[in-house]
């Protein structure tokens, strides 16, 4: 079965967040990146910024939801390090340009 990943951009407060699906090679690469062994972080996560861009929510098939925000990957209560922000950067390459621009403006002061 062809791998499918649903990516929700956690961006809005009132309107539903934009989301997209990726398939095939891109979904497989995302699955491989998320499956890597990573350093586990302590659980005392800071509250993420309230309004504006908060990260990506990724679900592979019927699997668990991952939150990807910069160099931290969260799955349920578990947090893992991605020091080079590889997953975050890879997901950004998958975004259509208007959405990428919106993510950029969502990080404004």
């Amino acid at each position: 079965m062809e791998p499918v990943a649903r990516i929700e951009v956690d961006l809005f407060s009132g309107r539903p967040n934009p989301a997209l699906e990726v398939h095939g090679r891109e979904a497989a690469k995302l699955a491989e990146m998320l499956a890597r062994d990573r350093q586990r972080l302590t659980k005392d996560a800071a509250v993420p910024p309230g309004v504006g861009f908060r990260g990506f929510l990724v679900r592979l098939g019927a699997g668990p939801v991952y939150r990807i925000s910069g160099d931290v990957l969260t799955r349920g209560d578990d947090r893992f390090a991605d020091p080079q922000c590889e997953v975050h950067a890879f997901i950004e390459t998958l975004l259509p340009l208007p959405l990428k621009a919106l993510v950029g403006s969502g990080k404004r002061n």
Binding site: D10, L11, F12, S13, G14, R15, P16, N17, T42, D44, A45, A46, V47, P48, P49, G50, V51, G52, F53, R54, G55, S69, G70, D71, A81, P83, Q84, C85, H88, A89, E92, L102, G104, S105, G106, K107, R108, N109
Partner: protein, 283 residues
């Protein structure tokens, strides 16, 4: 790994540069990986200006064919527009400045030291501002546990929270009355909320008796989205950003005395205060 630190301080001359030893790299990495707090604020050094503008750090890791560039200034680790920034509570700038002591005139070091001491840092994170008086008898209690649970939190947004009504529909202004706002600006979202029964008011100081509702505030991220705050019994304001947890702090971690002046990230336009009540119908 090669790590080059630049003290961004000069205007005419080239900025001084230091190459870190392995031990210094390890210390820097340990401090950076220990940072847990995020912020969307950016240090003023990214905009330029004269004098001390922080440190830039360029790193190249041949093993991963990767490189990175960050700026550390005003207790913020700025990772560029692609990533949320980090709050530095480990004194990174004080750690980096001595690397340049042997190579710079004392006056330059003293200038940077003075800026470090006077910097407006994030030490105020989580600080409590005094709450204004709550003039609404019906104002909800701040009880985030009611909202921050798996059955409610993902299905209710800022509009649900402001109206203190969990419909589990991610309610949209105007939808219960036939038309939602199609353009994300005050001129479209305000009337949509009025159709639901909200009432625009000039401020949040007029006393509202029992049955007359409570105050909410509407803000806009131009062209993209809207957001609502509500005033609780405490007098301070709280909000629920999208499907995330309800909270009583703004994007800088401060309590919210007035949604017109708090840190609202990209929701830069404050539209108005409004009054909602238990008879308002949302969907």
């Amino acid at each position: 790994m090669t790590t080059v630190v630049t003290l961004d301080v000069f205007s005419g001359r080239s900025n001084p540069v230091a190459h870190l030893t392995e031990a210094q790299e390890n210390e820097l990495n340990a401090r950076l990986t220990s940072l847990k707090g995020f912020t969307h604020k950016r240090p003023s050094g990214v905009l330029g200006g004269l004098g001390y503008r922080g440190f830039t750090i360029s790193r190249h890791n041949p093993a991963f064919a990767s490189s990175g560039h960050i700026r550390i200034h005003e207790s913020i680790v700025d990772r560029g527009v692609e990533h949320p920034n980090l709050i530095d509570d480990t004194g990174l700038e004080s750690f980096l400045l001595p690397l340049f002591h042997p190579h710079l005139p004392q006056g330059v070091i003293e200038h940077a030291m003075a800026k470090l001491t006077a910097a407006d840092t994030f030490s105020a994170m989580g600080s409590k501002l005094p709450c204004p008086k709550c003039a609404a008898a019906d104002a909800p209690a701040y009880a985030p546990a009611t909202w921050n649970n798996p059955a409610v939190q993902p299905h209710n947004n800022c509009y649900n929270y402001a109206n203190d009504h969990a419909t589990n529909t991610f309610a949209q202004p105007g939808r219960a009355h036939g038309a939602t706002a199609v353009v994300m600006d005050c001129a479209h979202v305000e009337p949509a909320a009025v159709r639901d029964g909200l009432l625009k008011v000039a401020n949040f100081s007029r006393p509202l008796g029992s049955g007359q509702g409570w105050y909410v505030g509407l803000v806009i991220w131009p062209g993209a989205d809207y957001h609502w705050y509500r005033q609780d019994q405490t007098g301070c304001w709280s909000h629920k950003p999208g499907s995330t947890a309800a909270r009583d702090i703004d994007n800088s971690g401060h309590s919210i005395a007035d949604p017109a002046t708090c840190d609202r990230g990209p929701y830069t336009v404050f539209c108005c205060y409004m009054v909602t009540n238990r008879k308002v119908v949302i969907a």
